[in-house]
Amino acid sequence: MSEEVIKTEGLTKVFNHHLTAVDHVNFSVKHGEIFGFLGPNGAGKTTTINMLITILKPTEGKASVLGFDIAKQDNDVRNVIGVVPQEYTADEDLTGLENILLCADMYGIPRGAAKERAADLLRLVELTEFKDKRVQTFSGGMRRRLELACGLINRPKLLFLDEPTLGLDVQTRTATWNYIRTLKKEYGMTLFMTTHYLEEADTLCDRVAIIDHGKIIVVGTPEDLKHSLGGDVITLAIKEDADVSELIKKVDNVKDVKKEDGSYRIKAEIGEVTAPSIIETLRKKGYTVTKLSLTEPTLNEVYLEFTGRSLRDAEESREAFAAQRMTMRRARQ
């Protein structure tokens, strides 16, 4: 198998001949990484994922998933991928176990093997004791875990997660992140996820692509993207009434110093190492540092830099909006 698990070339989707949802997108996902698709609602994330999981046909361009062409070998693709949709698709009237077995049936897995796998997966997502309870009684976090179990029933090499923590509270979100990390670490799975939570992309993803208006704006590791903004910002003040700008500039990794109302705003790489050296340099010259703060750029700033605005929430179809609202409502149960 090639190193590239997903590769797209000029992938495009036009709805109703005029609405371009995804516009000549090129990217590749490497084996074993968590790749994040970051963008506001309506940016084209779900349309891209829907093409890759073969439920939408591309208008133009092509893509391969695990070596299979998504247009010509769609059924091969479906066999080897797992999908965890944004919505809670589990049937509320059925039990947790019945839902997993239903998924197994859709993959044509014989009942005996399906039962063994279901038991394993229920253990993995810690739902074993609730397996015979109807999904109606499940909390948002439990439903999310059940979706995860269903998406893993065919032992996929590549798992697609569409907004995996939409509507979940902070605690459940962190727990979900841990399950995702386990899949990568212990099973060597490749994960492709979409999200519009920046901190989720930051903590979870090995690489992210920022997409807006159907186009990929930038791809890279969260670290690289943050560094591309020019590094960390150190703010400090000294007791003495003197200009030490030139002194600070000489410290390694310092890129820029600005004096603002008695404090210094310093742009530096690897701030956590540079800050102590600055303090040390100043102390040697007899200055006393009275205040210091270190700010690392967040993906939010990266996002602002590349899209020119904060994550927006408007401009999406009524249907997508209703589905998202429904997911969030059920997550809170």
Binding site: I55, T89, D93, C103, M106, A113, Y187
Partner: protein, 285 residues
């Protein structure tokens, strides 16, 4: 476990895999929900007991006119001297229509809740997704038809002179044909709707007119207008009802029965093909 997770999915599925699982998912919502299941049995009892018995057509014919025997008048009009038997069979077609239409509604929910997309991302065939809907609606209607026959017998349905248990198989075969046709076309409509109100409006618009422009409750020959007769004569429900009457309560006319089956059979094949092609196109856009 980790060993297992690292194996590839070795099971390659056949063309029709998942059909029963998806059909059963639909049916479970019905037979595993006691309220819905009991209501679907109580409903024909109420209809038959109230509507069926309230329409006491026989009593409209005066008995004191010499030379007029109410039983003969009824026989000439309805083909049986018992109106209740006539209309309870009409009720079977009525139920087929309603059950197939309303059970098709679940497609809208499958779409809104994302289950449809989930199913589309698995190797289950698109045709199987559509067939499972058709099949579950059909099986449900056939069960309801069975209940109606039982209830009608309890309320005094009079069987025809040549009735045998084999005729019941004929009734179910007829129900199967008409339900496959009706539910296929209806699913082609609902699968395009994002809200439940649209197919509901369509159902409310067509179900009663379709019902009354047929011989389910009143014989076509006695209808007052030619245009109404023309509609009733092409309405597949007329043929369905006639076939069931031939099988259950009439002195079976085999030629007529053959015609009924041919008509409904062609209807089912044509309409199911159109419905499935339309749904297929929608799912592979």
């Amino acid at each position: 476990m980790s060993e297992g997770m690292n194996e590839l999915n070795e099971h390659r599925a056949g063309k029709l895999h998942g059909l029963w699982a998806l059909t059963n998912r639909e049916l479970k919502k019905w037979y595993k929900a006691p309220v819905i299941f009991i209501l679907s049995i109580v409903q024909p009892i109420l209809w038959m007991g109230l509507l069926g018995k309230a329409l006491n057509i026989g009593s409209l014919i005066p008995t004191n006119i010499p030379g007029v025997d109410p039983k003969v008048v009824l026989l000439q009009t309805f083909g049986t001297s018992d109106y209740f038997s006539f209309m309870s069979v009409g009720m079977i077609a009525f139920t087929a229509l309603f059950t197939t239409m309303f059970s098709g509604m679940s497609v809208v929910w499958d779409r809104r809740l994302g289950f449809l997309n989930k199913a589309l991302s698995t190797p289950v065939s698109r045709a199987v997704i559509i067939f499972s809907k058709v099949l579950s609606a059909t099986l449900r209607s056939m069960f309801q038809a069975g209940v109606i026959i039982l209830v009608a017998v309890a309320f005094g349905l009079v069987f025809g002179p040549h009735f045998t248990l084999l005729n019941l198989l004929g009734v179910f075969a007829m129900m199967f044909l008409v339900c496959v046709g009706l539910s296929s076309i209806f699913i082609a409509i609902t699968i395009r709707s994002t809200r439940i109100e649209t197919p509901m409006a369509v159902v409310n618009l067509i179900n009663l007119p379709l019902m009354f422009a047929s011989n389910a409750f009143f014989p076509i020959a006695k209808m007052p207008y030619d245009w109404l007769k023309a509609i009733a004569n092409v309405n597949p429900l007329s043929y369905t009802t006639d076939a069931v009457r031939q099988l259950l309560i009439y002195d079976t006319n085999w030629g007529q029965l053959g015609l009924d089956f041919a008509y409904v059979g062609v209807f089912a094949v044509v309409v199911a093909t159109i419905g499935i092609v339309l749904s297929w196109r929608f799912l592979t856009k």
